[in-house]
């Protein structure tokens, strides 16, 4: 017969043991949704590897290489990433087919960095309906920041409208009487920027914006549009163009011996893809706004983040063109996903993935400009909303001014 004291001790130890068991049990409890297991996390992706937007396909390749690097180093919390990426040819019906394949046939945990506004619009309802995370979409369309209506969709790069608003703010401060001509691509990308600019100028948009000239992607060259704009005598040209047309614009303006203040949008700030072909001399004084570092810029040679990026390229993408800004983009996005998955720990449910994605606090991937931080919250699904203005001088971009925030909500 145990003594009272012994009984109390036994009871206490039993209670303590039970308590320890339950708490560590809760900690050790793993939760998975389809696509995650003890050894694997399946991530889906769609990219335009063919068709009119195939220039962006390299983003998918960069991400694939990045995940390989992570896997080689042991994976995330011991799990390897299986990255499944399909080609949608920038066609919405194809995107729908491919995303259904990813979710229903390949059974991925989440769809990461799908590219293109039309494709993402096509799959948004489906993914939200199926409660599959549509993570860090590779488009700057403003509408991805809408957690109330689409709680499973979250953006990544600064939205086009917020960038447009930043240019508007800057112009109103530095050149309040400017006559602005906008050359824009006639699709959602171009129109979103235009809206941002005009919203940012507010009541003054009517007097400041003297021309809105659109062009089609199918046109061989935008030269005749530039000629038309010149005849209207603006002093600022906002070039809402993709790289090929941005280079053509810079080149033609120089050929016409015309020197307006040129602003080129973030999408086309790559030195290797735009400034170099257009000609460094022609590109002097061009402005833009950036959130990431340029891989071709020697100023970052000793930057620890970019050194990691270069080492990554050396080992996992040898021979890749360092001047291609898509390589920087893909690396940054992939690093963000890895961070979110790490934050999930052993709770790899889709709900938790979204929760962690909405809980980024001052996260800085290797490739961001100093001062740019990723932040998300339950009401803010735009991780990057800061940009810094830069001026092209010599053969590289020189940042100036402060980091500007451009917050735009769709609600």
């Amino acid at each position: 017969m145990l003594s009272g004291r012994q009984l109390r001790l036994a009871a206490l130890s039993a209670a303590a043991l039970a308590y320890a068991a339950t708490t560590s049990g809760a900690l050790a409890q793993k939760k998975y949704d389809t696509g995650a297991s003890d050894t694997e996390i399946r991530i889906g992706n769609i990219m335009p590897y063919s068709g009119p937007a195939s220039a962006y396909g390299v983003i998918g390749k960069t991400e694939e290489a990045y995940f390989k690097m992570v896997n080689d180093a042991g994976g995330i919390n011991g799990r390897k990433i299986t990255f499944i990426s399909y080609d949608d040819g920038y066609s919405p019906p194809k995107a729908v087919e491919q995303v259904r394949k990813l979710v229903e046939s390949d059974e991925v945990l989440a769809v990461f960095n799908p590219l293109g506004t039309p494709s993402n619009t096509a799959i948004q309802k489906y993914l939200n309906g199926k409660k599959v995370p549509q993570l860090f979409v590779a488009t700057g369309a403003t509408k991805w920041n809408d957690p109330k209506n689409f709680p499973w969709t979250i953006g990544w790069q600064p939205s086009y409208q917020s960038e447009g608003q930043i240019y508007a703010k800057w112009l109103m401060k530095e050149k309040p009487n400017a006559r602005i001509a906008v050359l824009y691509q006639n699709d959602d990308f171009g129109k979103d920027y235009l809206k941002g600019l005009k919203d940012g100028l507010g009541a003054r948009a009517a007097t400041m914006v003297i021309a809105e000239e659109s062009y089609e992607v199918s046109e061989p060259t935008v030269d005749s549009h530039i000629v038309k704009l010149k005849s209207l005598d603006p002093d600022v040209v906002l070039s809402v163009t993709t790289p090929k047309f941005a280079a053509q614009t810079i080149k033609k303006i120089a050929e016409l011996s015309w020197q307006p203040l040129q602003i080129v949008v973030n999408v086309s700030l790559s030195i290797g893809s735009v400034m170099k072909p257009a000609g460094f001399e022609a590109s002097q004084g061009v402005l833009t706004a950036a959130y990431a570092k340029d891989g071709a810029d020697p100023r970052w040679d000793d930057d620890p983040g970019m050194k990691k990026w270069t080492a990554f390229l050396d080992k996992y993408m040898p021979g890749a063109d360092r001047t291609n800004s898509n390589l920087v983009y893909g690396y940054g996005a992939a690093q963000t996903l890895v961070k979110v998955l790490e934050m999930c720990g052993d709770d790899l449910t889709r709900a938790n993935v979204m929760k962690q994605a909405a809980s980024l606090k001052d996260f800085v991937p290797d490739t961001m400009l100093p001062g740019v931080k990723l932040n998300t919250s339950e009401s803010d699904f735009a991780p990057i909303s800061q940009l810094q203005m830069q001026r092209f001088k010599g053969e590289k971009w020189e940042p100036f001014g402060e980091i500007i925030s451009g917050e735009v909500n769709t609600n």
């Binding site: 063919s50 068709g51 399909y86 080609d87 920038y90 919405p92 019906p93 619009t121 959602d188 129109k191």
Partner: protein
């Protein structure tokens, strides 16, 4: 420049297909029908979705077959009618809350009218010139869909999201399965009607025009009427396919209806066998599944692999699936005799 005129013997641009080859034999038809009906019961929703798209594109290829194989008019512009049908359905469903079933006849009618109206000025064109005109139509359509003036209805570059219907009468099947059987029923209906059309007097008139327009005209065929009718019918059927496509994909946007679609439909017609209506299924399978196969083989060179597969097919069977079917028929006939 020489004053003499070039004289050319005009070979028929499209080879004639014997009448009895317009449809499959009864045995083959039954087997295929059974497979089409039974398969969805055993596969995942995603596969059912792919099969639905396969049927939808088959309808569009069939329409092109009537136009080119039936009346000899070359068209690279079917994507325009497909888009028109898709948007008509989408706008009716989303802006006017029309039931999805009722939008299809409307899409068909609208596109029939559009095709007929396009066919009129196109009467004076043939061969390469008609190809260019239809190409112009195909490139114009995405532009028109993006136009600011229509943006309130079309959603402009953003497109329109379409709601997928549930199975009616609370039938115990998924949305995908219901849509598949709905599409299947429509496909069969269109197929039977088309075969009938080509076997009828109108069909014969069209084929006479295809084989030799001048001779047909000399024999009293109203060339203008039948050519425009062919355009209209073909456009109308393509419009119905477009409407179904909008419902299946649940989204319409200008980027989904580019010249690439028109070229794909054309390839589907060639691979299936020009003028051979059952070939539409084979041709559609080619354009729906081969790009995926090519992507599986090589992501970087998917276009090249696709091109190579296409070349192999046209080398081995220049007349498409029709040639394969004939070959098989021949073989079976020989085996039976021995």
């Amino acid at each position: 420049m020489s004053a003499a005129e070039d004289v050319a013997t005009d070979h028929a641009a499209v080879a004639a297909v014997p009448k009895k080859a317009l449809a499959l034999g009864p045995a083959a038809s039954l087997v295929i029908l059974l497979l089409l009906i039974a398969t969805p019961l055993f596969v995942k929703n995603f596969i059912i979705f792919q099969m639905t798209m396969w049927l939808i594109y088959a309808i569009a290829v069939l329409a092109l077959n009537i136009l080119t194989g039936g009346s000899g008019q070359f068209s690279l512009g079917q994507s325009a009618f497909y888009a028109l049908g898709a948007y008509t359905s989408a706008i009716l469903m989303e802006h006017f809350n029309v039931n999805y079933v009722l939008t299809l006849p409307v899409s068909g009618a609208v596109c029939f009218l559009a095709g007929y109206l396009f066919g009129k000025p196109a009467l004076r064109l043939s061969g390469i010139y008609l190809a260019l005109a239809t190409f112009a139509l195909a490139t114009a359509m995405p532009q028109l869909l993006k136009l600011g003036v229509f943006e309130h209805w079309t959603g402009g570059v953003q497109g329109l999201v379409v709601t997928k219907p549930d199975a009616p009468f609370a039938l115990p099947m998924s949305q995908d399965m219901w849509l598949y059987y709905f599409t299947l029923a429509i496909s069969i209906g269109i197929y039977l009607a088309s075969v009938n059309l080509l076997r009828s007097r109108s069909g014969r008139a069209m084929m006479a025009i295809r084989d030799n327009e001048i001779a047909a005209s000399a024999m009293g065929v109203d060339v203008a009427l039948y050519k425009t009718l062919a355009f209209g019918v073909s456009a109308g059927i393509t419009g119905v396919a477009g409407g179904l496509g909008a419902i299946a994909v649940q989204f319409v946007a200008p980027d989904g209806y580019t010249i690439t679609l028109a070229i794909a439909l054309f390839l589907g017609m060639v691979v299936g066998g020009v003028g051979w209506l059952p070939g539409s299924l084979a041709g559609s399978a080619f354009i729906v599944f081969v790009p995926n196969i090519a992507e599986g083989i090589s992501k970087g060179l998917s276009g090249a692999v696709f091109g190579i597969i296409l070349i192999v097919i046209i080398f081995v069977v220049p007349h498409g699936a029709r040639q394969v079917a004939y070959g098989a028929q021949h073989l079976i006939g020989k085996l039976r005799r021995n």
